[in-house]
Symmetry: C2
Amino acid sequence: MNGKISDGRQLSDLEREMIELFVRMADVLNLPRSVGEIYGILFVSPGPLCLDDCRLRLNISKGSTSQGLKILRSFGAIRTVYIPGDRKDYYMAETSLRKIASGFASEQIQPHVASGKDRLFRIRELLADESEAEREHWEEKIELLENWQKKAGTTLPVILKLIST
Amino acid sequence: MNGKISDGRQLSDLEREMIELFVRMADVLNLPRSVGEIYGILFVSPGPLCLDDCRLRLNISKGSTSQGLKILRSFGAIRTVYIPGDRKDYYMAETSLRKIASGFASEQIQPHVASGKDRLFRIRELLADESEAEREHWEEKIELLENWQKKAGTTLPVILKLIST
DNA sequence: GATAAGTTTCATCGATTTTTGAATGTTTTA
DNA sequence: TAAAACATTCAAAAATCGATGAAACTTATC
């Protein structure tokens, strides 16, 4: 046992309670539990942690930890810290809500919005094959959905503006 | 076979494609697939449908259909239609994005925000037992989270306002 | 260039969630 | 109040999703 504070010692009540908070957030955002745990351990830590630090303190597997760090990196919820003379990658939690939210929006939400747009386009194509009467029936429904689509597209940026104030 | 348009006949390409759209939305919102399907079949239908209409056209079980309708009712995504001289309950899709979103927010999101608030309060209590030095270390993190909390609370209502315009 | 350190990938396992359908509950009608 | 018409519940089955850890991969060190 060396002197590193991050080795596999038990988590304190305070730490556990806070990590649980992030696990719940992950749940709401439809992210794996381990992603919440990893963000949590980085958030409560006074300094950067490496993959092994995280997994030892959380008692989770190497695979989950690697995968979780990748997800958190993908939307900028953590940042990589370079520590001279150490080959390991170190991470710390990004605490700017604006940065995290905008990363999440563009990486996890936008793709869904985009694929919905595609599908709506395909629906318009299918509609061309239908009879006049059928087209009439569908037209209003499709317009409704296009309106939803548009709102999703315009609302997201506004939310981000709001959060950053 | 009677003359009802809603009996178990095959779905058209157009119908299937549109229902799929709602299944994807359900997925993003972390709701069961069947909930998306049921909303979808109600959305594409020209008139109200009863439980059996839905399940026959979608080929899903009675249990799923009952459960799905209950969930959709719980946040106001569908409305119940009374048809004189018929004992069955009929449903139609609510198409106001504002109504659906605000129902979803208050039924599915708010409870999470509230329980997060509770947890943060419990964390403050735990903090009282810590030494002066420890308290110092945690104070800024807790303040950060309280700030997030506050933003979640104020942003949600604003989003709903935005959607309704 | 062989070894060691660190990370990622992926097949499999396990846990959780959803679906099913039979049983149960409720309301209406005759 | 018996029977019929519907809706709901719930235990069991099926499907889904995340976690695991061994193997593969990459990069650095000697």
